[in-house]
């Protein structure tokens, strides 16, 4: 059949202008010495990458990013499955209401989520409750690293667990009813059913794998929540602060370009991050059975 290639032209033009062109230029910039104050480009080869890879601030940001990525993706995966099980085992009306409530965080701008989960909002309330309301004489000290890393992970899971819930609910619905009924007839307990039927189906589902991959790729560029925490912790002017993910670090470097910062290093960092994105997308395309049909 004759393919209407003309139909693809507008999309391709946008792809080239907004994605491939800029990425290519970023790559060229990353191989040169360049700053906004002095916009002449001198090729320096991989010098930017080398100095980046020998910079402890960069490695620190990588560590923070990895910690947050795996922490939050793992947590939202678990919480998502838990929510999906709750939803699918409830009656029609409860299901409709509660799943509507559970998906709300997805709709909220991530920057607002940064505000919601800030020490001055949620934890201000919670601490007041703990300290005075319940007279426990104790409160959650959000300035401790373990605490604020946990909160960032928690707030990312707060946004994205519902996505895993949605995907998992679809997977559970696709399990043949006969399988579960057969198990019930044979006297299987709820836990056995989960262990032997539901959980293996969830784990084996390409949809879940693809969601995990995409969420991992998304978490690598995580910006708004750690960015807001820079302000809550008063670290916004400190390069390589404890909550600097790679993206936040790039933002700080970018903001300081005013002081003639070697801006090409930012693009080098972005290109390294891009490698993660491109790899994950390739895996998604390979694992998703239906995308290329």
């Amino acid at each position: 059949m004759r393919v209407p290639y003309l139909f693809l032209v507008p999309a391709l033009v946008i792809i080239f202008l907004a994605l491939i062109g800029p990425v290519f230029q970023s790559f060229l910039l990353s191989l040169s010495e360049f700053s906004l104050v002095n916009p002449s480009q001198t090729p320096v080869g991989f010098q930017n990458y080398i100095s980046l890879l020998s910079d402890s601030v960069f490695w620190r940001a990588i560590q923070v990013t990895l910690l947050l990525v795996f922490g939050s993706v793992f947590l939202e995966f678990i919480v998502g499955i838990f929510l999906a099980l709750l939803i699918t085992s409830s009656g029609q009306r409860a299901r409709t209401w509660f799943s509507s409530i559970f998906v709300i965080p997805i709709a909220i701008a991530p920057i607002v989520t940064g505000v919601l989960w800030s020490p001055n909002s949620f934890f201000d309330d919670l601490n007041t409750l703990l300290y005075y309301g319940l007279s426990l004489g104790t409160y959650i000290d959000t300035s401790k690293p373990f605490t604020y890393y946990s909160i960032i992970v928690l707030s990312d899971a707060w946004i994205w667990a519902p996505l895993f819930m949605l995907v998992t609910v679809a997977v559970i619905r696709s399990i043949p009813k006969e399988q579960i009924e057969a198990a019930e007839v044979m006297g299987a307990s709820s836990f056995t059913k989960f262990q032997k039927i539901t959980f293996p189906a969830i784990i084996a589902s390409p949809a879940i794998v693809v969601t995990l991959l995409l969420r991992t790729a998304d978490a690598f560029r995580m910006f708004e929540v750690p960015y807001s925490w820079n302000f809550w912790l008063g670290q916004d002017s400190q390069l390589g602060a404890p909550v600097d993910t790679v993206s936040v670090l790039m933002w700080k470097m970018f903001s300081s370009t005013l002081y003639d910062f070697p801006i090409a290093q930012i693009t080098a960092m972005a290109i390294l991050l891009l490698a993660v994105t491109l790899t994950t997308c390739a895996l998604v395309l390979r694992r998703s059975s239906s995308l290329l049909d």
Partner: protein, 293 residues
């Protein structure tokens, strides 16, 4: 028998308890933001750095009163209506362009197998997943040169990075949902691709197009990163405006206007939440571009 019934009832209570706790986990932070927007207090009771701002709420000496003044302030002083209009103009025009380009592309991806299909799908996935920093600098430089900085056209174009993959891939999915024999019958009737797209595919996928457009709109509405770097006084969007009310106050050493921030945040999320709930069936398809199906 009755023991069995008791057990069943108990497990139902436990399930409802868990559902309600999960709903609480979702709604509590949001409700605090909404409620704090109504509060005028002398400062947070607890700040992030511990009990440095211990309020006097429970000591009974007041310091807090409830009033809609922060909401009024947000609507007035923060020029919220202006932000709202900006966000709507930018999101709507960007989504419209994305529809013009993405509709025929999605149709072609759904109907045909051809060389380069994997490339386009991969490019769209990468576009959705890429870290903004990988393209930001070229955008920054080119927008500076072309005078697109802080303009509606410039922002509408940059948001195609979000909207084109969403519209194209979601529409691809909606076209795929239509039995393929319908299109085959149309092909054999001698209809051209554009005739089929206009007279058969589009009417059948119209609800899907509405859902895709709404989803893309919300994504643009919530976007913070590009807005942070590429908007200024003219085109500042809601999500940027909500935040900058706060962050600029830090920079100018004003007192934290936290209640104002909460009021603004509340106003910013209302449209996004309502619209997202309207299309909640398609959230997973939108977020994963149909890969998790």
């Amino acid at each position: 028998m009755s023991e069995n019934k008791n057990k069943k009832n108990n497990s139902r209570y436990i399930r409802y308890l868990l559902l309600v706790s999960a709903a609480l986990w979702v709604l509590w932070p949001i409700s605090i933001m909404v409620e704090e927007g109504f509060r005028v207090d002398i400062g947070p009771l607890f700040s992030g750095r511990g009990a440095s701002f211990v309020g006097e709420f429970f000591q009974g000496q007041g310091g807090i009163k409830f009033s809609p003044i922060e909401y009024q302030k947000a609507l007035r002083i923060e020029a919220y209506p202006r932000l709202l209009v900006n966000s709507v103009i930018i999101a709507v025009s960007s989504v419209l362009v994305a529809i013009l380009a993405g509709l025929p592309a999605g149709f072609t991806l759904a109907m045909y197998k051809f060389r380069g299909k994997a490339f386009i799908t991969y490019a769209l996935l990468a576009m959705r997943t890429i870290s903004p920093f990988a393209v930001l600098l070229p955008f920054f430089l080119i927008y500076g040169r072309l005078g697109l900085f802080d303009t509606y056209q410039g922002m509408a174009f940059v948001y195609l990075i979000i909207n084109l993959p969403i519209i194209t891939m979601m529409m691809r999915g909606f076209f795929k949902d239509i039995p393929k024999e319908i299109f085959e019958a149309a092909f054999m009737s001698g209809a051209s691709d554009s005739y089929i797209l206009r007279k058969v595919a589009l009417p059948l996928a119209l609800p899907g197009l509405a859902a895709a457009a709404v989803f893309a709109f919300v994504g643009t509405w919530n976007e913070f990163f590009y807005a942070l770097f590429l908007t200024g006084a003219v085109t500042k969007t809601v999500s940027r405006g909500v935040w900058s009310g706060f962050s600029e106050s830090i920079e100018s050493f004003k007192i934290l206007e936290f209640d104002e921030l909460n009021a603004g945040g509340t106003l910013a999320i209302i449209p996004a939440v309502i619209l997202s709930l309207a299309v909640q069936r398609y959230l997973a398809r939108g977020i994963t571009l149909g890969a998790a199906e």
